[in-house]
């Protein structure tokens, strides 16, 4: 389980996370929702240690990661796979080399074994014929799937998805959502944390939903809790209404 206890984070004078408390259950799909700029990406970057909180504690699998030094944090990150919003593939490497990269860095497998594992990971996301292509030669959907294959290849305990469907056409977005469910079904020991703006997909896919507003988790619960909520802020966001208590700049 991943737990945030009173985590605060400021960038300059802007408070992004304000003593936020939340819990992400193990082996489930948890969606984090909220408006743009509310600190969703900042939240998952805290989980993986790319950002350090100003105060508070983060517990991952009974370990307080906020006390880890840099070397310990790098060890901690090996448990994670992360799909970045813009895929963040290494553009000077082929698809195969991108997926092999974590294996080459963290395992002593032979080149053939690494290649077999990478091909297996690419096949899992439906990419079997683009091994020697470069990221710039792939469509956005293929880039996302390559990023997902790279995140999966090292058998992570936790998969983090940073807005995996933002900016995609509905068909590709649904394909990625289906992949998230498929991976969670095939790998039930994996905990998935997804950042999303897509309410329909969130309600259809999530086991647990957390909504962040003004640096705090305003509601945590299953999709039914969110469907039936009377919280005006959550209700406004779920309905996609401009009018309501949620303030716009």
């Amino acid at each position: 389980m991943i737990a945030f206890e009173n985590i605060s984070k400021k960038f300059g004078n802007t408070t992004v996370l304000d003593e936020i408390c939340l819990q992400i259950p193990k082996n489930k799909i948890t969606f984090i929702i909220g408006r743009s700029g509310e600190g969703k990406s900042v939240t998952i970057k805290h989980i993986i240690g790319l950002l350090r909180p100003d105060s508070g504690r983060i517990i991952v699998d009974d370990e307080e990661i906020t006390t880890f030094n840099t070397a310990r944090m790098r060890q901690h990150r090996k448990k994670f796979g992360m799909l970045f919003q813009h895929s963040a593939l290494f553009d000077s490497m082929s698809v195969l080399d991108n997926v092999i990269f974590p294996l080459r860095e963290h395992t002593s497998l032979s080149r053939q074994a690494m290649r077999a594992k990478a091909e297996e990971s690419l096949a899992r996301v439906g990419l079997g014929d683009v091994l020697q292509r470069y990221p710039s030669e792939l469509s956005t959907g293929e880039q996302k799937r390559t990023g997902l294959a790279r995140a999966l290849v090292n058998d992570p305990h936790v998969l983090l998805y940073d807005e995996p469907t933002t900016g995609m056409d509905p068909l590709i977005a649904e394909m990625i959502d289906n992949l998230i469910v498929k991976i969670n079904t095939e790998l039930p020991e994996v905990t998935s944390v997804v950042i999303s703006h897509d309410i329909k997909a969130t309600l259809a896919t999530a086991d647990q939903i957390i909504m962040i507003y003004k640096g705090k988790a305003v509601l945590e619960g299953d999709p039914a809790t969110f469907r039936n909520t009377r919280d005006p802020v959550v209700g406004q966001f779920m309905a996609g209404r401009v009018e309501g208590p949620m303030q716009f700049i």
Partner: protein, 262 residues
């Protein structure tokens, strides 16, 4: 009135404060990068790639520039020495200037422009496209994977390129002396060997080693701290090249001063 007078002082103070903070951040980066050089894994494959990029692929421009600098310097020196009928010293004067100063300095400028700018642009693009974050997220230290091979390759290749520059510069000088000032090959060689000692060559190569280290460190530091989109990459590259040229000049004065006073 006081406020109007104080404004330039404040701006000047802020300017120097930013420079001092920048220098401090650079020194911290250098310390971290050097510490990483001593750690495993060695990353030989990455080092060889960078040796080729910084060394082999820069060889042509070094060879061409070295030849022409030597030839032009030989022409200038020879035309002055001809006033005193001392054209035979053209080779030794060119050789001394090349070994002690011109070869390491111009090689450093060329490498800063060719390889340094490319390193900064590549790392800056990786930074703004979240590739550095992706590397960190996979538990891989960018200092180890990206910076360390560049530091080693640049430090190793700079003195070797400097030697090529000296050799080609001497050939250029020889061509000038032979065809313009009618200095015979024997006299040219005799004077070069008489005036240039191994200490001169070593002094130049020591400079080249430090220039190589600084060029790679500055280029990586500017690239890894890039912010923003395409403009951020451009700004980082410009800053990297300008900082490199100024750093090499400052370091040159410092090393020369140490060499002269010891």
């Amino acid at each position: 009135m006081v406020r109007v007078l104080a404004q330039p002082v404040t701006l000047l103070g802020a300017f120097f404060l930013r420079r001092i903070i920048g220098l401090g951040a650079f020194l911290i980066f250098l310390r971290q990068a050097l510490a990483e050089v001593c750690r495993r894994p060695l990353r030989l494959d990455r080092i060889f790639i960078q040796l080729e990029f910084i060394g082999i692929k820069s060889l042509l421009i070094i060879v061409i520039t070295g030849f022409f600098v030597g030839a032009v310097f030989g022409l200038q020196v020879g035309s002055i020495f001809s006033i005193f009928s001392a054209e035979s010293l053209t080779g030794s004067a060119t050789g001394l200037a090349l070994t002690r100063e011109l070869a390491p300095l111009i090689t450093a400028f060329l490498i800063a422009g060719r390889a340094g700018s490319a390193i900064t642009a590549e790392l800056a693009a990786m930074k703004v496209n979240e590739q550095i974050d992706a590397m960190e997220a996979m538990g891989v230290n960018p200092l180890s994977y990206l910076v360390k091979p560049l530091l080693i390759a640049s430090t190793v290749m700079m003195p070797l390129l400097c030697i090529f520059f000296i050799l080609l510069g001497m050939i250029g000088s020889y061509v000038s002396a032979l065809f313009i000032f009618d200095v015979s090959e024997g006299i040219f060689r005799e004077k070069v060997l008489e005036f240039i000692v191994m200490q001169d060559v070593i002094a130049g190569l020591v400079k080249a080693v430090f220039f190589g280290l600084v060029i790679a460190t500055v280029a990586c530091n500017c690239g890894l701290h890039a912010r923003g989109g395409a403009r951020g990459i451009g700004e980082a590259t410009t800053t990297g090249v300008v900082t490199n040229l100024l750093s090499v000049l400052c370091l040159d004065v410092l090393i020369t001063w140490i060499q002269v006073s010891t």
